[in-house]
């Protein structure tokens, strides 16, 4: 879907989220703990939210939210992010996006 890909490529780190979703919150917390600030797009505040959800499922994301994109590529949902992190493969991916706050 155009909007998804546009948002994903415009921002290095994107989380498609819903403001009431606690797993979206979990991934957000993890990213800030790791020193990065992703662009969070709340689907429940986007009129095209439902379409974006469908598109994310179609792209193969295990759950519509949270959907994490790094460097324009779909990484996956909470499962995929957690697996990556525990295997030590998440940090290298996030390196280009470290913010020094």
């Amino acid at each position: 879907m155009d909007k998804v890909m546009r948002l994903a490529s415009e921002n290095g780190l994107v989380i498609f989220s819903k403001s009431s979703c606690c797993l979206c919150y979990t991934v957000n917390i993890l990213f800030s703990e790791l020193g990065v600030s992703p662009y969070v797009h709340e689907l429940d505040q986007d009129p095209e939210g439902k379409d974006i959800e469908k598109a994310l499922i179609k792209m193969g994301c295990s759950a519509p939210v949270p959907a994490v994109f790094i460097g324009g590529k779909l990484v996956g949902s909470t499962n995929e992010v957690m697996s990556l992190h525990l295997s030590g493969n998440l940090m290298p991916l996030l390196k280009p996006y470290y913010s020094f706050n």
Binding site: L23, L30, A63, L86, S87
Partner: protein, 364 residues
Amino acid sequence: MNYSSTQFVTPNSMTYEPVQQTGFWGDFTVNGFVNSPSPFILEVDGKLSNQSEDSSHGMVGILDGYDQEDSKRGEKSGLQVSRRLAQNREAARKSRIRKKAYVQQLENSKIRLLQLEQELERVKQQGQYMGEGVDASQLGYSGNPKPGIETFQVDHGHWVEEQNIQTTELRNALKSQIGEIELRILVDSCMSHYFNLFHMKTIAAKADAFYVMSGMWKTQAERFFLWIGGFRPSEILKILIPRLETLTEQQLVEAGNLKQSCHQAEDALSQGMEKLQQILSSTIAAGQLGEGNYLPQMDAAMERLEALVRVLNQADHLRRETLEQMARILTTRQAARAFLALGEYFERLRALSSLWSSNPPEPA
């Protein structure tokens, strides 16, 4: 069920009045339609012309009586009588259909009642099982377990037995001079055994998320350490890693990284859980507290509870990943020692629970 007081036509009653449409089974619902005669009317209209033999054998006696009447009164009243007869037959036929459907539903209800009685028996027995050594009331888990949970309790009992057996096998294998390949098989089956548990818990969470959250299937001492429906993965690493001798530099670094990332993931999920609690709390407390009418809040809260299943699954996913990554870092022998240590750790916790149950500490 209300029965209207009109008479049901039997072969023995010689009534000249057409039976009222509602009849004996009038208030009974057939196929979910309450008292709607339309499905039957269409059929009947089409069949008015060819009545007689098929469904009217019960009416034969009355017909014979009418025939004699006909010849006495002549053709004109004969037409009126035939019309009345047709109406009678139609009504009786409809009545028979409704009766058949009613009997069918009675049969279904009987079966359902039997099922409910059986389930009640099972749940009662389960209630006794839960009473043994489990402080259900103290921890506020009231009521009988939902269906699917009894299965889980039984399966979990078997799971623990199997785990104890595996722990013993590992102990013996490490003492003996068992080969690498056989040891690897043992380690892999220990790993699969834990994965089975997480799979069982996923199914149980769908059946009753609150039950899985409460850890009620575990013993008291295990429940003391409960984190989102199970053990805390970082705690496991903290116990096991220092006990593994002969870790290489590389292994030490990797183990340290695993500990840290596990901790971070756990922290994030804990905060996600707190967020769910906040959301649920504000959903329940929404509107005027004290009004006395809170059905909309209940509906909204039930929807929120769906997220609990997701969080539980995520916690089990984290446990699974932690065990997998730990085994990946270690050699076969080290992994065997780790699983042995883990198995015995849980054994000790369960032993503590047994001891405590039979020997609670004296009040000071």
